[in-house]
Symmetry: C2
Subunit: 411 residues, 2 copies
Amino acid sequence: MSEFFEVLPPDEARATWWEQVTHRAGMETIRTVDALGRVTAQAITSPEALPAFRRSTVDGYAVRAADTFGASDSLPAYVQVIGEVAMGQAAVIEVQEGTALLIHTGGMVPVGADAVVMVEHTQEFSEHEIEVRKPVAPGENVLQVGEDVTTGAEILPAGHRIQPQDVGALLALGLVDDIPVRRRPRVSIFSTGDEVVPPDTTPLSLGQIRDINSGTIGALCEQAGASVQTHEIVPDHPEALYAALADALPGADMLVVTAGSSVSVRDMTAFTINRLGAPGVLVHGVAARPGKPTILGVVDGKPVIGLPGNPVSALVMFTLFGVPAIASLMEAEMPRQARLRARVAVNVPSVAGREDHVPVRLVDRDGEMWAEPVFGKSNLIFTLVGAHGLLKVPLNTTGLREGAWGEVVLF
Amino acid sequence: MSEFFEVLPPDEARATWWEQVTHRAGMETIRTVDALGRVTAQAITSPEALPAFRRSTVDGYAVRAADTFGASDSLPAYVQVIGEVAMGQAAVIEVQEGTALLIHTGGMVPVGADAVVMVEHTQEFSEHEIEVRKPVAPGENVLQVGEDVTTGAEILPAGHRIQPQDVGALLALGLVDDIPVRRRPRVSIFSTGDEVVPPDTTPLSLGQIRDINSGTIGALCEQAGASVQTHEIVPDHPEALYAALADALPGADMLVVTAGSSVSVRDMTAFTINRLGAPGVLVHGVAARPGKPTILGVVDGKPVIGLPGNPVSALVMFTLFGVPAIASLMEAEMPRQARLRARVAVNVPSVAGREDHVPVRLVDRDGEMWAEPVFGKSNLIFTLVGAHGLLKVPLNTTGLREGAWGEVVLF
């Protein structure tokens, strides 16, 4: 099977794969206080105008602007203070020519007034009279009705990840529940391998290793907004893998298989994905390191990923393909990854036509950020535990020289 | 009260404040699968060595390296294949001089063998004999016992935020529960103001606005790893505020009050914090915009923050002070904020001695990132909803010129 496939560069692999994915996660409605990080399933529009009444943006006096024209320190304008606007209540007294109401920030500007003089520009003259020492223009220090949001305005587009300020914006409009969001995509994760045993197996027998990938890939899914379904470890047997995947497919939005690292076992994954349904395997091998033997397939319009069993390869490849797939299942904007530029501390050789992702530690040297590769012979998970992020060595370079600037995607 | 306080630059304000905070969130133990994003309460060491047995890092043949010395394409070495190492099982057959065992990646290297020849460097000669066409050195393609982790090695330091790969590393060692982490700090949030009503109030009466700050500050707390306790909205009355804070203090790790925006109401917050206990208010005013009238205090060793009522100011200031405070309560490393450099699309004036945080939209122009300030007259929450992050105008500049490079902290 595999000889028919070319190894594709990561971006091309993703595009080839994604073209065939038609499945999407459905919609549900939730409360606004639970909505942080969720993805809007449709645009949300404002049911009302904000502010709903003219509000003062300063502490001062609500006046008719015309009464203050030409006012100065040497020639102040005099206005009668006929009352105070209580916070949280409608302003009931009307401002007439030559009069003013004391008002606080956020208070309702009364009928008749068209501006607010800041308290700093006034002085008490007598018990009920103030001097205004600076003129205000009509509308000054007043927020007009609907100036923040008009009725029917789109406040959040579809596919938007809800942030803290969005929570506030929804609450400001009284939108406290029935927020339409995408259901969390359900990702079914399968670790395979005769040598792999559940993490709570202690002590291990010789030859056994504990299942790492269900945990790391599950955590990445959780971070990306998916819900995780873990399954029993699958032995290296085609029928067992087929049965497990076929059983999970109807209830899952995406399947992830982390295979053993030997060639025969990887071929079992590709074989099983093809047997599961059309179009089956679309990408068999990615021009990247670590993680070259990654498999990308589609069954019933749903994405299926075959990851290498090596935990570092599996994590890097899932970041490259699985995390954006979860976003796409929700038709969400891509998550913004924290990344920074750093200088490379040693020569990092690569091969043109291959994209490398090298675990690095970040070290501040005299105010400049340097990336020190963390090399591990085994490429086991502990090289990543000590690292701060992955340095990307682009596709069309033969490496990065010591001192060159590179891009680090932070964990 | 407030006249005794100088307005402090943000970093100085934080230091002055934090010196007096002695309280810390306690410890609890949780399962590894629930540990993503939590903070280790103490260093975690490895209970065992990994790998626990010598593992092959390739598919090939386990051999005695000496048997391959001098082997080449023209003069291959011949070895007898006496069996295969089954995955997940102890290798039971011993490799003797002139013999080899077929082995898969991750398989246990058998007694007697000291290297693995990659299958690519061999050729089948007869049913039980192979040609080795390239020599291997002792130890080549073999991961030694403990090479990943030795028994007792520190795998995660105290104060570490647990990432996906850390979940995997813990599972690899059989550490599936009893993970010592900091309890989520409990943050009690109080919105105050006679004009503020619960978000589910519909329709509003004239003069009323819905409580936004409990929602946004709560969401920021949640993001930062805290648990949120929201309380009833407190009217603008010193006794009511005192009663509410005094009631919450024993059960909380931090108190946050978002005050009304008028000066009189802000003074009420400072007054109440001082009444609550010593040392009380430590910082009354920060050289930053928005958010200058921020109050930082300490009572019973616990941090207390008084935020301006304006939702943008409250959000920016809580990001500057509240989020790092939550990290400090857990003695955690500071969260790494996603930030990037962008060019400023218009002149952004500021004042030397003040740190500005300007909401910006990011726009890609010919591959270069530009930051376009989102100015809102009201500074209401909707200026932030449309923004991608905050552009920082440093303390000792008079602004950023159009085209200059600035730093944007992403939401």
